[in-house]
Amino acid sequence: MKPVYLLKPIHLVFALLLVIAGITIFVLISDVPAGASGTPHPTIAGLSVGGDGTEKLSAIGKAPYYFQVAVILLAGTLLYMGIPAHRRDRLLRLCFGVGIAFALFVWVMLFSGYEAYLATGQTRVLFGFPMPTNWMFWGIWGSFAIFDVFYFFAFRRYFLHPDDEAAFNELVREMEAEREAT
């Protein structure tokens, strides 16, 4: 069996989509506890309440956790596909590995923090919000903002190499010449 990094990205994308579909089907055919997607507030119209978070996960267990792990890996692989094959080098793979590992770390911290809150009913409040919520606001957003920053700094090396830009300009000239000739 080939190591993962030797597989074509599209095959990994396809496999991850199937994993996500599998988890989704598992959730869809699982029992649905009362209030799985919230219940109306008992006295205030238009508001819903979350209720018992532990009960909500009772039938599907850690399915959401594995779902998001697969989504993060899928997102990373798709972004990797966007870099021309001949520009993908060891440094790029290292950067992507670190970026995806960080995104997974954030997700683990978020979900484990949420599970701890469900178990104890206690949570730390930082910057005005509970810790797991901070991981969501700053971590989930920030873990892919890193890829946006990478785009800026590595633009000429991976995303529009001067040689590729020259090759494109050459193609434009060729196509214009062909159009004029016809």
Binding site: L17, V32, L47, G51, G82, V125, F137, F144, F159, L171
Partner: protein, 494 residues
Amino acid sequence: MEEFRQPIILGFVALYMSICIWVGIWAMRRTKSAGDFFVAGRGLGPMVVSLAVFSSTLSGFGFVGGPGLVYATGLSSIWMAVCSALGFATGYYLIAKRIRMIAEVRNSMSLPDIVFARYGSEAARLLTAGTILLGVLGYLATQILAMGLVLQSILQGTDMFADISLVASVVISSTVLIFYCVTGGIVASVYTDLVQGIVMIIAGALVVITAAHVFEGGFAEATGILLANDGEDIMPFGTLGAMASLSWYFLFGLGLAGQPHVATKMMMNRNLSDNKIILPMTVFGYVVAAMLWISVGVIMRALVLGDVGLPLGNADQAAPEFLSTYAHPILAGIVFAGLFAAIMSTADGFLNIGAAAVIHDIPKALRGRSLDNELFWARSATIILSVIAATIALYSGQLVALLGAFGWGTFAAALVPVVLIGLNWKQASARAAVTAISVSLAINFAIQLWAIKIPYGISGGFLAMLSSMIIFIAVSLAEEPKPLPKDIDRILEL
């Protein structure tokens, strides 16, 4: 100053609309061809493109529906906003460069043109254009209705217009929108987006500061109230739960690149190398403006659950109620102008791609060439589409909600595999594109028409998008790879 609150708000909104009209007149002189009308002659600078991309992504939903959703369901909907860094990354990593290259080499004016260039299939072009038209009508109707409702609520607060009807409010706001879209096409659209983006960033930043001071203890006090009442609402998955939130993350994070009004703007920059700074500027603008979504919703929910404020009659009143009660009149004026900016910046983009679908893409797919005198017909189509959308908004009842809900998920499910994967994988086939679009439309329509309730609050759009992505790759893998046209083959190498 409090006694002048309504005139101040009205003044800011009137000033904003006047700027839009002025931009429309200015842009008319720069619009001499259909290419100018639809893709601004591919001559826009990075600042204009980045603000146009972010402001058309964050529609009126982000300023009205978003805070309303947080008020009603806690933080579940915030997953639609925190995915923005991923959404813009997929857009710029996977499609921005290639879509711009194809546009230049093939002189493309629309996303269906790009799809045709990539797959060489008129069926794929027709389906893409048809999907855009369906989604545009729905989205546009909801945006026009939102514009009318907001204008009506502002005008009704004044003595002179206390009895103004919704129809009159829709007519006034739509007239401004139609004027600058018809006269200046996409040039007016992107330059008003520039103004709109700046207004939205200022509004977002100022509202967060205001919201942080509603409670003496700031957001921590609001969080304490929510934790004491329910707790799930202020935790990361809100009241709707983990699967609902995560399915939205998937749909909005990976689906952003399939939004035609966003993707089309990626064809318009002057230089390919401008993408380097367009991406970070877009992400920055979006995140600042989206803070309004989170902060207003959290504070309004805490006020009501903490018995400080009265319950709202409708969740969508969260932002207007916050502004009228807690914001300084000048800030309220800026934010109401920002609200119009958010709605109009999305609506004008939709009008433009909708007009392109009607007069350029569908005729090309059906008879091999677009209409003669495209510029004239583009302007006519813009007016006709606006009138149809306004009529749907005012008189269709349930249809507007149905079409509105159809929007984002439809575009994401139908176009993400075809564009996002298809522009990065040579083996992707025309048959796969046609199948994926058809299946995604069928799933989306079935879920909406039969109001199918999906367990755990999982998004129907997510199911359609996941299915279409799998089908697209499976069908392509099952087929023998076919050679691509020389220019497309070389572009996919770069």
